[in-house]
Amino acid sequence: MRVADAFSSGPALIVYLCMGDPDIKTTIEAARRVIAAGADLLELGLPHSDPIADGPVIQAAAQRAIAAGMDTDRYFQAAGKIEGIPKVFMGYYNMVFQRGVERFAADCAASGISGLIVPDLPPEEANPLMQACKRYDLDLIFLVAPNTPQQRAEEIAAMSSGFVYLVSRSGVTGARKEVLDSTRELIARVPAVRPRAVGFGISTPDQAAQMVAAGAEGVIVGSACVDLVGQGRLDKLEELVMGMKKEMIKVAPKR
């Protein structure tokens, strides 16, 4: 399954889960429920000791997962067991670099992962990984932030494959009450040369719908889901995903 498939039938709901928090079994079960509830794409996070782009919720999840023994080997084993919708890797570059970009790409491909998001790898540093992704037919998804200058935003959108990740606000991941005007601006100014998914701080069905209404082809929800998994509320997780999907469809442009 290709990343692009997630966007083929209307606005895509992309759910982030932290692999191994609190254990692999739970992550797999959470993924099953999220898929059942209508998610279109899974971001499977590989926990890192130093997640500089993440807020407190995902930091804490990563710490729990590491403490429970999560590592790159186990990550790929577990990822291979999750099926039904496209999956992308989400994690920090040092974890990729230590394994070696070639081997890492090969492991992704072998476990059914079809794309990579590496939040601390701007295009300037991405060449080695980009080459490896090409060899293994993986998408390498770049991010655009509200403060990314226009020319650079366009270039990043062009380079990104699968989709382009629009960072909804400055700062780090984590749920936020209001959706900022700057996010709407960002959606408006990044050319739709490929699907644009908005993430960082989206936690409610209403926010998700606003993003779609503003033109986004996809919405990424992370901390809100990780939080519910952390609380052991998988039922609430399912409910949240269903609710988001429902509201997103409501406002989706008719095709």
Partner: protein, 399 residues
């Protein structure tokens, strides 16, 4: 590749295969603006004059180059000490914080944030925050806050707010993470004042340049006092700012440059903590805090905690330029263990009447161990004073 990247200083931010900018997209623009501001101010006479005045009238530069007769006699050579211990705040840190704060002020920022481990850089940031009228917030791991109560009080006294970091290992590296996260959301009003020659471009180059006043002074002082270049320079390495600061002006000279890392308890690892702070000696290539460098990590790429009796050397990474210079052999990397550092601490105190910082004591401890490596004429960088370390040494010695 991208066209913008070709014109960006990020492209020139490499030291061999080290350095670069492994950072979230949100930080790309703030770092470019910082790099641009820094590059243009570097040649701005008004800025340089203001910085020069602050360095001399506020910070106490030039610091002396002081012959250590009794130490030199014991080692059978001429030893000079570069006295950064006499700088305001008690260490070389202020060279960097003054420079960056002045850059931030020219960039129109009103707030400074910084990370601190032991508190030295936090204090140096709080000092410039007070002097130049910034709102100042210092990220500090909860574990470190507990260990360094006096420095927390000092920062608060200077008007800074200390923000406890509860994530990760709750120590220095997590404080850096937290400061970066803050900055990603606050850069419009805020400057992130990184404390050592590490991190993404332009920090390693900027901090090196701001600290190279140490080496520039030392170079002209030794020429004046001895009429020739030193055979060797010894400096301790945490992130690498005092070492790069004194080494930089000597890079194209025949002077042997010796970087002494924290050997700690030895080369091993206890749980998820390395027994040392020696990323050049025992680390491997990887990305930490935005730069490709040498780091202490596990085989999967999780960062280890570091260990040293000297809080300022307790960092699992190192500046990328030092990693490069070590790789090419231009800088020799050596170790001083906890015990050797404490020996250096005691020795310099008794022989010269100078209590060095435990960090700097690593350089002294190494010199005592391998005097034959120093040549006839050697400069040791006394990066700071040791008043802050009395408790630590007393405890180490079981008093």
């Amino acid at each position: 590749m991208m066209t913008t990247s070709h014109t960006s200083p990020l492209e020139t931010a490499r030291f061999g295969s080290f350095g670069g900018g492994f950072i979230p997209e949100t930080l790309v623009q703030p770092l470019r603006e910082l790099a641009d501001a820094y590059l243009s101010l570097q040649a701005d006479p008004g800025f340089l004059e203001e910085l020069g005045e602050l360095l001399s009238r506020f910070a106490g530069r030039p610091t002396p180059l002081c012959r250590a007769d009794r130490l030199g006699q014991a080692l059978g050579r001429r030893i000079y000490l570069k006295r950064e211990d006499l700088l305001h705040g008690g260490a070389h840190k202020l060279n960097n914080t003054l420079g960056q704060a002045l850059i931030a002020s020219r960039m129109g920022k009103s707030r400074l944030i910084a990370e601190t481990g032991a508190g030295q850089h936090g204090v140096a940031t709080a000092i410039v925050g007070a002097k130049l009228g910034f709102e100042t917030q210092i990220y500090m791991g909860e574990v470190d806050i507990e260990r360094q109560k006096m420095n927390v009080y000092r920062m608060e006294l200077l008007g800074a707010e200390v923000i406890p970091v509860r994530s990760g290992s709750r120590t220095l590296k997590d404080a850096i993470n937290e400061a970066m996260r803050d900055w990603a959301g606050s850069y419009e009003t805020t400057h992130y004042l990184l404390g050592t020659a590490a991190g993404p471009y332009p920090y390693p180059a900027m901090v090196r340049d701001l600290q190279s006043v140490i080496g520039q002074e030392a170079r002209s002082q030794i020429m004046e006092q001895e009429g020739r270049l030193p055979d060797s320079i010894v400096a301790c390495v945490g992130g690498g700012s005092n070492a790069m600061g004194i080494f930089a002006p000597f890079l194209s000279d025949p002077t042997r440059l010796i970087a002494v890392e924290a050997g700690g308890r030895g080369p091993g690892q206890t749980g998820r903590t390395a027994d040392n702070g020696a990323s050049l000696a025992f680390g491997s290539k990887g990305v930490l805090h935005g730069a490709m460098t040498k780091i202490l990590q596990d085989p999967f790429g999780q960062i280890l905690e570091s260990y040293s009796v000297a809080a300022g050397l307790d960092y699992p990474g190192v500046g990328p330029q030092l990693a490069h210079l070590a790789e090419t052999g231009r800088v020799l990397t050596r170790l001083a263990s906890d015990a050797q550092a404490v020996r250096g601490f005691r020795y310099l105190s008794q022989a010269e009447g100078i209590i060095p910082a435990l960090e700097s004591a690593h350089a002294v401890g190494y010199a005592l161990e391998e005097p034959q490596q120093l040549g006839d004429l050697c400069i040791i960088n006394v990066s700071g004073r040791g008043d802050k370390d009395l408790h630590t040494v007393m405890e180490y010695e079981g008093c």
